[in-house]
Structures are given as structure tokens and as C-alpha cells.
Symmetry: D2
Subunit: 383 residues, 4 copies
């Protein structure tokens, strides 16, 4: 059966541009799909043209654009995939939706939930398929955690605790802003670790156990001023949150703690969560992504213990598409899985989660946390 071609227009050519390009190249070789993505065009700002051309050549993008509005208008593009900095998501996504394109967007959805709401309404009004790339849902071990919860193996949920720890900004010599360090520039990123890291943690939490009712948060900016990447002689106040921690009460009554920082010496990309239920618990650490820890209280009392499930078997989510038991996959595969799920959704006519609407829910928790850090009070999550 011939596959349907799906022409992709990629908005951005940075780090996330690489992960998505790799996914487009790879997905059809490992997953049996009705749609075949075609790397039609890659777009970047005119200032980044020197970077765009070799990027496009390397990955096989058939053409390039330096004006995102032109890309959105092209008739030969079916999908607009936004991998540009956070402050561009809103305008591009809404224009793309209005142009009838399928819209994919990197996380976080937007600079804030007001923007996010407009984006969700735009894709819904246009009736176009849409997805936000919370790729970590597609770590097989995390997908397995979801499956265990859905099977009822944990029972009533009492606790959720999430951390997302890194250490790459501890040095005061790291500049902010510019092409590769925009994540440190509040004007471009919207927030610091809250949007960049905690958004992942929140998305996973909501997916696994449901919505958040209210939060109380604290944030900190440990280094108050940094040079700018574009002009090292200029030093500016740092306006992002270097660290954010919050307590949360979920709608189902569960208590949760969330914490993220880029000042946890020795933690490189430690995205962890633990869920404690009446009947069992699960625990995950992205620094050992091929494992899920699972505790089943129904085991015989003298042999009960935390099980280290090596999530590499054909019984595990996504894994039968890859190699053989005991052979691991890595970071890049989570994007392939998200893409495969999305394409399968197109085929079957269902909107693959997380949609923009779900991304908005996460955004609202981020907003509530950031607001709470200012008001020093508990804040209800909107919506």
C-alpha cells in the first residue's frame, strides 16, 4: 500500500530542529505507518541563514525559508512544526492554524497561558490536528508507568513527587540570550526552569494522575546579572527563575511536590517522579531512562520489593519496533515515538495527545506557580 506523503515545514534549526529532523528521517524505517513525512522546507530567521543552509543540507530538507509567514503560506506544506524559541510560538501557530495547516509545537506551548489559550482556540477553530511535543511521555518507561496506573495497579493515589535537576548554569561566566542561550533570556523564553523543565514534569504528572487544583511556589535567581551572549561587554539583570519549587494539591486529593533547578551540582538531566498509591508505587529517573521502578504491595510479604523493570522488551511500549531485549534506546527515540503516535493518529482520525488544549493545562500550572512565587500565597490553577 502506497504511503501518503505529508509535507513538513520546520520552523527553526537549532537543537530541537535536529531532534525533529532525525525523527522525520527515522520514523518510517521503524514504524509501519500510513503517512510518510517529507522534509519539504526548513525555516529560520534571516540572521541565522548561515546556520540554516548546512542544517537543511545535512538533514535533507528540500528547501529553505527565512520568513516564517512565507512558509505558512506555501501550498506545498501540510504541517508546520515549530521548534523556534518560545516567544515565536503564538504567532506562528495561530497563522498556521488559520492557513489550515496541521500544527506541531515544541514545549512549552507559549509565553503564558493567555497566549496558550489563543493558540488552543485557534487550532480548534480551524479544526486542524495539533500536538505539543512533550516527548518524555514517550520514554517507554514513562508510558509503561501510565499503563500500570491505568491497569489499576497503584490504586488510590496519595502522593506525587517530581524533580527536574540540572547544573549547567552555576558558573557566573555563562552568558544569557543570543542564539544558543535564549533559555536564559526571559523576554524570549518567558520563564526559566518553570517553562523549560517543570513544564515536562507537570505534563507527565497530569497525564499520569490528573489535574492540579492549586499550588504554592517559591522561585530564586541565584546569579542576578550576566553578560549577554551577543555582546559580552553588556551585562544585564537575569530575569528568569533559576530554580522553582512548589507544593500542589491535585483534584483527586493527592499531594505533590515539584522542584526544578539548574543549580543542582552533579545532576545533568535528572527528571524524576514517584507516584505512591494504596496498592503500589512507581518511580522513574531520566538519567536511567531504560528502567522503571515498581513496587507491588500484593507480592508475598517476604519477597516484596522494588522491582527494577528493564524496559527493553517486546512487551513494553514501543520497544518491539526497535532491537532485542536488553538493547537500549535513548533520548532521540522519544521524538520518534511522539511522531509515530501522531502519524498513527492522523491515519485513524484521532488527535494524538498532548494537544494544545492539554499543553494549555500545563501552562496554567506554570503560570499559577510563577504567580504564587510573587504573591507568596496559594494560587488556584485556572480553567
Amino acid at each position: 500500500m502506497a504511503k501518503k506523503k505529508l509535507n513538513i515545514g520546520l520552523m527553526g534549526c537549532g537543537f530541537m530542529g535536529r531532534t525533529h529532523s532525525n525523527a522525520y528521517c527515522k520514523v518510517g524505517k521503524f514504524f509501519d505507518l500510513g503517512y510518510e513525512p517529507v522534509l519539504k522546507a526548513a525555516c529560520a530567521r534571516i540572521e541565522d541563514k548561515d546556520k540554516l543552509e548546512p542544517f537543511a543540507e545535512n538533514w535533507g530538507w528540500q528547501s529553505t525559508e527565512t520568513d516564517w509567514r512565507k512558509m505558512v503560506e506555501r501550498d506545498d506544506i501540510d504541517v508546520i512544526d515549530i521548534v523556534a524559541p518560545n516567544n515565536t510560538h503564538h504567532d506562528i501557530a495561530i497563522a498556521a492554524a488559520k492557513a489550515g495547516k496541521i500544527v506541531l509545537c515544541e514545549k512549552p506551548l507559549a509565553m503564558n497561558s493567555a497566549q496558550g489559550l489563543e493558540m488552543a482556540e485557534a487550532v480548534e477553530a480551524a479544526g486542524v490536528a495539533n500536538m505539543i511535543w512533550f516527548n518524555y511521555r514517550r520514554v517507554p518507561a514513562i508510558t509503561l508507568a501510565k499503563q500500570l496506573i491505568d491497569e489499576g495497579r497503584l490504586g488510590r493515589i496519595f502522593h506525587y513527587r517530581a524533580k527536574y535537576l540540572q547544573d549547567w548554569t552555576i558558573s557566573a561566566d555563562v552568558p544569557q540570550g543570543g542564539q544558543t542561550l535564549w533559555r536564559l533570556d526571559a523576554a524570549v523564553a518567558g520563564s526559566g526552569v518553570t517553562g523549560d523543565l517543570l513544564a515536562h514534569s507537570i505534563d507527565t504528572a497530569i497525564w499520569l494522575i490528573g489535574g492540579v487544583d492549586k499550588v504554592t511556589a517559591m522561585t530564586e535567581t541565584f546569579i542576578k546579572e550576566r553578560a549577554t551572549q551577543d555582546d559580552p561587554s553588556v551585562r544585564k539583570p537575569v530575569l528568569i527563575d533559576d530554580a522553582c519549587a512548589f507544593l500542589a494539591k491535585f483534584k483527586n486529593g493527592a499531594l505533590a511536590t515539584f522542584e526544578s533547578t539548574r543549580y543542582a551540582r552533579g545532576r545533568k538531566n535528572q527528571n524524576t517522579f514517584e507516584v505512591n498509591g494504596e496498592k503500589g508505587s512507581v518511580c522513574f529517573d531520566l538519567e536511567d531512562p531504560h528502567q522503571l521502578q515498581y513496587y507491588d504491595h500484593s507480592d508475598d510479604a517476604h519477597v516484596v520489593g522494588w522491582r527494577t523493570i528493564l524496559v527493553t522488551d517486546s512487551h513494553h511500549p514501543y520497544m518491539k519496533q526497535w532491537w532485542v531485549p536488553g538493547c537500549t534506546i535513548g533520548y532521540e527515540h522519544t521524538f520518534v515515538h511522539a511522531l509515530a503516535d501522531f502519524l498513527k493518529g492522523l491515519e485513524t482520525g484521532t488527535f494524538t495527545t498532548p494537544t494544545f488544549r492539554e499543553g494549555l493545562e500545563t501552562q496554567r500550572v506554570c503560570d499559577a506557580a510563577l504567580k504564587s512565587a510573587k504573591t507568596e500565597a496559594w494560587e488556584k490553577v485556572e480553567g
Copy 2:
């Protein structure tokens, strides 16, 4: 050199009575000390006399009492050691101090910080040596963590995170109150996990990185009503906190998270902490008490990694008193260490920490957390 005898009067004969009795029997055999504790008298309520007699015989307590006031008045007692439930600490400690006795007290210091303050003032007014048994400070790996921080190996501290998780009260069939389950009875225990478990976490944190400025907390009581142990036909509301989590800002600017629960399925006595500093980090888990994780950012970049220090060597705190490298010790030894340190302090005329005054500091953080959970606002820590 002949050792000086130190006559001990033990107030209580429950679980903590065992741990202390064992420490009194054992300390002189492993530590070279100027004082020798003598197991002079053990005391329990008259209702517990059936339990007291075999207890005293088993451990070699030379006599028994069933009225604590008589014990305090005995001339042949040098030390009053309180291992009875929390609601007895205040009165016994103050009476003992007034009688000029050395006073040792199990944690938490008191039912609340008002009581605690009176106790601290009483021992200070009397000028008697005093110590609160936060035994986990004397886990060699925790003492080593303190040493590393004092050596400057972590540098400026950014983050502290502590958890103390158990799972033994998940079943609704566990009764409350009575001789062995008074920890579930707010009238006797003062609070739930906050005083019982978080007090340990807070004491360790303050010892390691300094005082707490303010907190915001949440608590939960998952099971609202339980039968009473003394009369299973009577069911009463559960008034303790089953779980408590709080955010904290330390006086030195560090951010912290604390969480405790007895509803974390699969966690038996998981008392953990992690400290992240500019130059390094340490991480500890009481379920692997013989290990300290340490990350030293000054290691060569291609070989830096979290070190698992096997804290069993003669170079490590307390360990040269015990066996040989690779041979572990356990829970009971933390009490022996605390006692050895206390006796050494008597010998050298210094008051071994944590004193009641320090116990009060922890109590105040507990109080602030419990208050914050009610006010739903940040609360400053008194004092």
C-alpha cells in the same frame, strides 16, 4: 584509670527504651570513655508494670519505679533519660532539671515550641547537661556529610531537599492510640509525621546548613477515622497529620523542600537528603545507611561522577571503634554514638549537641509548618 560511674534513670520501657538500654550496655565496650553508665532504674506508668519488670530484668536495670516523680527525687540517679511519649517530656524534663539531674530526652523535644522553650530554659537555668536524641546525626555517613560541608567541599549552598517516607499506616485497619500506637494519637504525640519524622529531617538540615527563615506547608490526613487500640469498638477522628510537605527558605539563601508521609507504599524508613552546593553535592538515604553519595565538581571533567562512599573505613566517623572496612553497622549504633559523644562531652566539660536549645529550633520549624498548613500562608520561624 577507674571510670566514673554515672547512674541512669530511664523514663519509659517501650521501643526507645530498648534502643537506649542497648546503648548503655554497649557503649563502654567499644568507646574508651571516662564515664561508665550504670543502669540504675527504669520507670514506667503503673499500668505498664507487667511490661516494665521483664524489660528491666532483660536489660539489667537494677531497680524499677512506677512514679516518675519518685525517680526524679532519687539521690542515686545522675541522669534522667526520657523515652516516654511526647506529652510527658515537658513535665519530666523540667522537674529533673530542677532536681539538678542531667537530662536526656527523645525527640521531638515537646508537644510544641512553647513547651520546648520552657524546657530549654529550665535546663539552662539549672545549668545541667542536656541533650536531645536526634540519633540520625550520628549515622556515620551523615556525620561525614557534615564533615565535608565543614571542610568547604560544597561551597555556597543552593539547595536542600529532604524526604522521610514510610508506609505502615496505609491500612484503615491500623488502630490509633494505646501503648504501641500513641504516635497516631494527637493528644499524646502532638502531631503526626511532622514531629515524628520531619523533626529528624529538620534537625539534620539545620545541623548541616543552618537555620530556617520561613516555610509554607501542606498537611493531609488520608484516613479520617480509626478504631482505638485500647477499645477496638470505639472509633475516633484521626487528628494527626498523615503527611506533611513544606517549602523552606534558609537564612543563608538556600531553597529547600521537605516532605514526610506514612503513605508512600514501598518506603519503609526512607529518610533522605540531598545538598547541592556550588562546588559539590552530597546525597544520603537511610535505607542504605552505610553509603554517602558525593559529587566533587573539581574532578577531571571526563571522570567526574557521583561517588558512592562506603562509610565503613577507619577514616570515617565512629567506624574505627567497630569492625574492619567493608563491615557495616546498623540502626542501633547511632544511639551508641550519641551516647559516646555525650559522655565524652561530660568528660571534657562541653555540652554535646543537639542540646534542648537546638531541639527547640527544630520544634519551631515544626510549629511553623503546622501553622502554615492551617493558615495557607508562609510563616516565619520564631526565635
Copy 3:
């Protein structure tokens, strides 16, 4: 600079055909190389034609062959890459060498060292580049281990211990032979775990610490008879080794133990090694491939410990080509690394290791072990 095209002819379309095809597709997108592999032709036996065609289409092989001799004769092929069962390696490799092709070959090199010697001599006589795919050398953590040893961080080596454990043949219902289970058929595979798994362990060991002097071995076949895959009604004796363990003395005086089995319940692909030297040790487990354990005896005595190096940083072998610190890669990447190294070798005119000659050295250790298991005596390793 335009890249030189290098036309690949792939011999085989099974599991290893997939891993190599993926590497050919991917290598140029992540590594900056002078040569660009072109997927020119894939070949399989005429009996496997139904499998070959979709395989070729999926991966983009431009043409197919069903007679390996024709492939070897094609002028438009530069490289013959052998991924067919072990009993085909000898004839194809020698014919390819004689035809002046570059020859790549999956491990183990051959059915035995007599074959292997002829193969090594053939490629050397022809003067063609050649490499055997011991891909695990290119796990970044293993390459890092090599680097640490070469830096002198371990000092004099006392001990080496290797295990390679799996559990997939424990059921007596697994048949032998046929297209996917030829590894259980001695006539096709040459041996069981010795050639399939221990060959990896031996290659790594020799690479890390040098040549083997002599061995004493035992083997076992736990299930003596199995049905055949091609005709389930036919049962035949199992002639491969299900398990093999041997002691070895290395030329440098180190003592070693090697063990492999497919009967270690719970072990999926647990390829481990530990090296103990005077100054330090390293330890690796393929089930956690992103980590290397390293012990440095020169650390301060109270903080020395096994370091868990998270091998995902730009300072680590191969990793700067991939993602960012904390983001793992997996099994498939080891093939990409081997290919990248090989292509870089072509560019610089050096023969990338392991060559056939080095593969022969491993083969000779396998042969000595299999012989020893029969003679029940120590056997010197030839050569």
C-alpha cells in the same frame, strides 16, 4: 568540500542487516566525514527473497542480489559488508578481498580460527581495508574505560572479570536453526555462547588489557534436544554450548574469569566487565550502558568511592556528536560509531581496529576455550 561516495554492498538482511542499514543512513548526519556511504545493494539467499525486497525498500537499498558471488563481482560496489550467518563469512570475505573490495564482517570472524586465519591473510594479501564489527568497543563508556587505562589511571592490572548473561533459551520450547534461530544450530553458528557472546567479552578484554596466554574452560548444553524451526516435527540434538566459563591468564600476568550463558534467568543482555589495577578500577554493565564505574585510589581517603560516571557529556568519547549532557544514546549508536571510525580511517589511510587480524586473536581464544572444555586441560592460545 564534496564527500566521496562509497558504495556499500550488504550481505544479509536479518537483525544485523537492520543495525548496519541504520548506521549507513545515520552516520553522515551526525559525523563530519570525507566519505559518504551509498546504500547500493543488499543481498540475501534466494530463499529469503520475500524478506529481502521489503527490507531493501525500507532502508533505501538501491538494488538487490540473491547470489553473493554476483554481488562480489559488481564493479559499482566498493565495500562488502557481511551480516549473514557465521558459516558464510569465510567464503564471502575471501572472495571479496580477492575482488579488491573493502571487507567488513560481523563477529565472530569465522567458524573457527583456521577459517579466520585464511580470512585475515586474504584481506592482507589483497591490501584492502577490513574491520570486524565488535560494536561494543564503541559504547562510549567502554571507549572511556580504554582511555582511562591508556592514561595510566589503573596502573598494573591484577584482575579482569567478564560476564555475558542472557536468558532467552531457557524454555525447552524454543526451536533451533532456521532463519531467525540459526544461532542455536552449530552447523551454522560454529558454537553457541562462545562465539556469539564471549567473543564480544574477549575482544573487549584484549583491547583493554592485552593478549591471553592460556585458558581452562567448561561448557554445558542444558537442553539436549530441540525441535527445528523449519520443521517442528523434527527434533535434533543441540550441539552448541548453552554456557561457557573459563579462567584465563593474560600475557601481562593478570588473572581473568569469563562466563557466558543463555540460562541466567533475569539477565537480558548483561555484558559486564571489571578491571582491577593497582591504582584504580573500572566496572561496566551493558544493561546500564550510559554509565562507567570508576574507582580512583588517589582520592582523599575519607571521600574515595566508586564514581558513577554518566557518560553523556561532550568530554566523553563520541558524545559531542549527539545531544546534550544527560541525554542518553543506545544500542544502535555503537554501530554508527564503528562506522564513523572506519570511514575516518579510510580518510586518513589507517586501518580502523579491530581488523580481521585482531578478530582472529579473539577467535583463537574462543577456540582454545572450546578445546579446553573437551580436553579438560589448560590450553595455550595459538599465535
Copy 4:
């Protein structure tokens, strides 16, 4: 019920003297037993009198002896417990048996199996209770492993692998012989790691899965000459085995590997074993003695994994005598357990294992290994 007094005569006052003294002091406080050990007399060589007196005082030994023959003759001694160096075991044990004493002996049983046989025959002829102190059988996690095997949870056993690794003799500056380093003197110790460490591994293996049929071994002495402790100016050849590894075939058909060394940098007291059976596996490491790893193949396929059993619960062997779940015990407790089991055996009239006869079985495996290392051939285990 009054307890029967059992008068102990301890032969030796070194490291093992401490572990046993501690056990005698402690056992009755934690275990409910019909016999109460009385610390009647401790004995050491006249040369060690300066050490013996403070030792006896510290532990409460009521009297001392400096001639073992006198101790054996004392009417007020019921039990002779031998904790002196290996070359004294034979004569003392036989004399004690002839004098009708109960005989306890530290491992290894003897200098060789000829001696061991005479000892076993002597206690059997005398009909006296006897036990060899293989204390590691009484690590609760190891006892639990035995229980799981006896419950049939592993099924047919395929593999056993044991290691016992240390690193304390790597420095060439460590002297041999003398009071504290007699383990390095072959004339006193009989052998090196084989008798000191592998004897433990072998005893555990035989206990868990049965007898050994034959072995092939290698040994090495890495440092050929050392100063003597008693006179540092005298250097002598080192005659013990620094390392020993052997392959074994068990009578039940299982394959095994055993390895021990004191040259494994970074390993302090790493006594490990793994047992692989058809239905499950267990794995243990003495450096984490409170854990047993267990894999149960009957778990649902998507949630099967190695379980880390935290062996601190009242459901686990010995643990209900100690503290509460999550609270660990350590090295010293294994001696208390062995003693408690022995005293319980006296009470019930059964001989607690391992008896001298069982110690002999282990000795014979040691002898076969040492012989094989010389003959370079497989050697059958006698008996």
C-alpha cells in the same frame, strides 16, 4: 523459667574474639533462649598477656588463661570456642572434644582437610555439640535466599557465581605474619584467600545448592616477598595465595565460578553470589547486606524485574528480634544469630549447622582448588 547457665571458654582475644564476646553479651537480650552463656574464661598465648587482660576486663570475662590445655581441663567450662589462628584449631578442638566439651570453631575448620577430618571424627566420637562459625549464613538476606530456594522459587539450578573481593594487601609495604597479620603467613593460616575468604563463599554455595563434584583453579601471589611484622628487617617469600579463582561443577549439574582476591582495588569486603534457576534468580552483595535481589519469572511479563528486597521486616529471618522495618542491622549481628541458633539447637537437642562435618566439606573444596592450581588439572572433591 530460669535459664541454664552455659560456661564459655574463649580461645583467643583478637578480632574474632571481639565479635564473639559481643555476641555472648548480646544474644540473651534479643533472643528468648533456654541457655544463658556465661563469659567464664578467655585464653591467649602468654606472649599476648598484655592484650588479654584488658580484653577480658572490657568484655567481662571472669578469668583468664594463658595455656590452652589448662582451659580445656577446667571443669567449670562447658564450651570451648576457638577464635585463635588456623594452625591451632586442630589440636585444641580434638583435646576439647576428648574432654567432653562442646566445641565451636572459627572458620576455616583447619589447615587442610586431613586435619579437618580428624576434628570432625573427634567431635563425633565424643558425641559433643559442635559448630563452625560460618557467620555469613546468618546474614538475614542470605538466610532468606536459602528459604526462597527451599520454597522451590528458583527451580532447577543452572548457575552459581561467587566472588569475594578485597583490596587491603595491594601495598608492598604491608608486612606478613605477627599478631595481626598472621592471615598472610602460610604457616599459620594454611592458605591465603582460599581459606580466609573463599571458604565463606563455598560454605554458602553448598548450603544453598548442594555439593561440589570437581574444580579447576588458578592462584597467584602478586607480591612475592614481604617484610615480617615481628621484625621489619627480615623479608620472606610470601607463600599464601593472594588470589584464587576456580570453575566448579556441582553434583546437581550446575556450573559455578568462584573468585577471591585481596587485589581488587575499591572492593572492601565484597562477598557476592548469584544463583540462576529455571524459575528465578537471587543475587547478593555483602557490601549491601540488608538487600536481596530476587527475580521471579512468573511475574507478569511487562512488570517482571529484579526486586530489591529490603530485608529488615518482621517477615524476614531473625529481623523480628531486632528493631522495626527499615532499620538495618550489621556485621556483628551475624554472630549473634549463629549463637542464638546454636543455643536453640542445644535446647532442642539438634546439632546446629554448619557442624564440623559440614566445615570439612568446605575444606575439601578448598583443598581441591589449591591442588588444582598446582596440578593445572580438574580435581575431584574428596568424600
